[in-house]
């Protein structure tokens, strides 16, 4: 029971979840915004607690070494919580106007956040797996939460079955690695593999681990669930899935592959090269053919996941921090893009097709400008943050003597620029189908403006995030 205090943020969040869960039962129908307010307060409280207990340098462990608080977990948790605050802000009005019960939505979403925090802080395979399951179970339920929608149920079913299969693969891999190294702790695994890095059982288990990680990331060829889930889920849940869990998936890959199996780097590098090349190529090419905006953003996510994997596979501290920077900036870029879609959304007039964005500039110039920044950043054009993220990842890949990989990634990014620019054309140069101005609550407007400004700010001064990312992996 040493260092129990290190888990204070998680314990606080769990208590807050229970309070919201019970409190929601006693709240009258007209006081429902209370659940939203409590959820935001608990996220902010967790964020403050995370900062207050963060170790200055190095790392500290708790619970017999199964929970670790190091620089990487502080940075990842900070951004997971910050992005989740934005996600709740953008999805509030959507939830209120739909048939989705408020209390359950926020409780499940907060449980997902708790799962992500546990994943980020885990230092044994068992904790990591349990955190992942906590996140996944919350996500399956959130996707299905709008019961009247048949597509939501179908998406949830697909997600659940494929997700269970991936969890099975991951567990099988974990069991093999446990058999080969005799420990669940990442540092013990790392020590065991230092002498015997090519142990057949460990490499066999590693292949299954990579399958599980690829699935949870949504990397090709394990990407089949992504477009269906993005399209079928309520837009607020799509927003949730597309943002913070990407940071958690990055942490998942880092804990397994770098903390545990870094000595087997030569074995997993090849596997990740296949995953990332397929993701970048498939994601960018298939996104061109999409007419639904949610599906287009789903394929765009797949291609961005390919870039995150590029940084990890380069196997250097520079690559890891570039990859972390990419995951964090992608999370809030994607959050902003879905935030705009949610802000345009009204009951009876769902934003489904790319053409629904037509003439957004005439209807609300600020949103159109923010959306343009977000899309330009996704395409990787300077001076936005997406450019710097791609640059950092690619330079790490070049340093690792994989120039051909960088060339492939650049070529397909240029291909991908087409479908982002097409949306910008729709927004600025086409006549709107309906002339009604787009209205949203004041705080949502402020949030989206900050989101757009952040894309530029971090693009011009990437050091603001990059410094923390570099510090997370140095030493």
């Amino acid at each position: 029971m040493d260092n129990l205090g290190l888990a204070t943020p998680e314990i606080f969040l769990l208590c807050a979840i229970c309070v919201i869960l019970i409190g929601d039962l006693y709240v009258r129908e007209d006081q429902r915004p209370l659940a939203y307010l409590l959820a935001q307060v608990s996220l902010i409280g967790t964020l403050l607690l995370t900062w207050s207990i963060a170790p200055e340098i190095g790392s500290a462990t708790a619970f017999g070494g199964s929970f670790v608080m190091d620089q990487m977990s502080v940075v990842c948790k900070t951004w997971i919580l910050a992005v989740s605050i934005g996600v709740f802000l953008y999805s509030r009005d959507y939830i209120n106007s739909r048939n989705i019960t408020n209390g359950e939505y926020y409780t499940l979403a907060l449980c997902g956040v708790l799962g992500m925090m546990i994943m980020v802080s885990s230092s044994t395979m068992l904790t990591l797996y349990l955190g992942l399951e906590l996140l996944s179970l919350s996500l399956y339920a959130l996707v299905a939460l709008n019961r009247k929608d048949v597509r939501s149920s179908e998406a949830a079913m697909k997600y659940f079955v494929l997700g269970a299969l991936a969890s099975g693969a991951l567990l099988y891999g974990i069991s093999m690695i446990y058999g080969a190294t005799g420990s669940l702790h990442f540092d013990a695994i790392s020590n065991a593999l230092a002498t015997d890095a090519d142990s057949t059982a460990a490499v066999f288990g590693l292949a299954f681990l990579v399958v599980g990680i690829g699935f949870k990331f949504g990397a090709a060829p394990f990407h089949m669930w992504v477009p269906d889930v993005y399209e079928g889920a309520p837009t607020s849940v799509t927003l949730y899935i597309s943002s913070a869990p990407k940071i958690a998936a990055f942490a998942l890959a880092m804990r397994f592959l770098v903390d545990g199996l870094e000595n087997a780097h030569s074995n997993w590098q090849g596997m990740l090269i296949i995953l990332s090349v397929m993701s970048i190529v498939l994601g960018n090419v298939i996104a061109i053919a999409q007419v639904s905006i949610k599906r287009m953003l789903a394929y765009s996510t797949i291609s961005h996941v390919g870039f995150i994997l590029l940084g990890i596979l380069s196997g250097s501290e520079q690559g890891y921090s570039a990859s972390m920077f990419y995951a964090i900036t992608y999370a809030f870029t994607s959050m902003g893009a879905f935030g705009i879609i949610l802000a345009m959304d009204r009951v009876g007039a769902d934003v489904q097709l790319l053409t629904d964005l037509r003439g957004l500039f005439r209807r609300n110039p600020v949103y159109a400008a923010v959306m343009m920044l977000l899309l330009v950043s996704m395409a990787g054009v300077p001076p936005t943050v997406g450019f710097y993220a791609k640059l950092a990842v690619l330079s790490a890949v070049v340093q690792a003597d994989l120039v051909w990989l960088a060339v492939v990634a650049v070529i397909f990014s240029v291909v991908g620029a087409f479908y982002y620019l097409r949306v910008i054309k729709y927004m600025f140069f086409d006549e709107p189908a309906e002339t009604q101005p787009v209205l949203a609550a004041f705080d949502v407007k402020v949030g989206l403006s900050i989101n757009g400004a952040a894309i530029l700010l971090f693009g011009v001064f990437p050091g603001l995030i990059m410094a923390a990312c570099v510090a997370a992996f140095s030493g």
Binding site: L126, A141, A180
Partner: protein
């Protein structure tokens, strides 16, 4: 061949037979019963491995609770399984190929030196005073406390999700409200109407 090995062979052969039965029988109730048999035989093999607590838990929890519940569901839902079996012959070649590949890999792996008898020797049997339950409890509530609590949170999420997804408030459902039933007064039930008499028959 000593007696323990003899028992092991008997029960593991029955276990494999039962497991094959689960996936080959066409009747879902029979499949569930085969699964009960498989659980029971695994429990006995665990008992041979001196894991008494886990073995008895397996019988109590899986055979006693989970499978009985499962049988209820199978019997009550009366699912017609024949559509689920369509396309069996169509998918057979692909399935056989994948299973074949997995079997080859596993044979290759199990023969590897990482799982050799030198690396995993037969454990020394514990004395009669060794308390299995106590050791498990000690491990679970000290070393694995964090994981134990996270597992509890996962169960909480499962409860919330199951209720949120299945509970519906339908307007046509008729509820009994005992508190209102008890508080009823005679004025609520009985209305005394004073009517003018029609003046009787003339």
């Amino acid at each position: 061949m000593d007696f323990k090995l003899f028992v092991f062979w008997i029960f593991s052969l029955v276990l494999i037979g039962a497991a094959v039965g689960v996936i080959t029988t066409r009747n879902p109730v029979q499949a569930a019963l085969f699964l009960v048999l498989a659980f029971f035989n695994s429990a006995i093999i665990w008992m041979l491995l001196e894991a008494e607590f886990l073995s008895i838990t397996l019988v109590l929890v899986y055979v006693g609770a989970v499978m009985v519940l499962f049988l209820f569901v199978v019997m009550m839902l009366d699912i017609n399984l024949s559509p689920l079996r369509e396309g069996f012959s169509r998918y057979l070649p692909l399935g056989a190929l994948i299973v074949g590949a997995i079997v080859v890999q596993m044979v290759f792996l199990l023969r590897a030196k990482s799982f050799s008898a030198e690396k995993f020797p037969v454990p020394v049997p514990r004395g009669a005073d060794y308390n299995n339950t106590r050791e498990l409890g000690m491990a679970m509530y000290t070393d694995y406390l964090f994981q134990f609590e996270v597992a509890a949170v996962i169960l909480l999420v499962a409860i919330i999700a199951a209720i949120a997804l299945t509970m519906r408030r339908r307007p046509d459902t008729k509820y009994q409200r005992p508190s209102e039933q008890v508080q009823v007064t005679k004025e609520d039930r009985l209305r005394i109407v004073s009517m003018d008499s029609e003046g009787g028959a003339k």
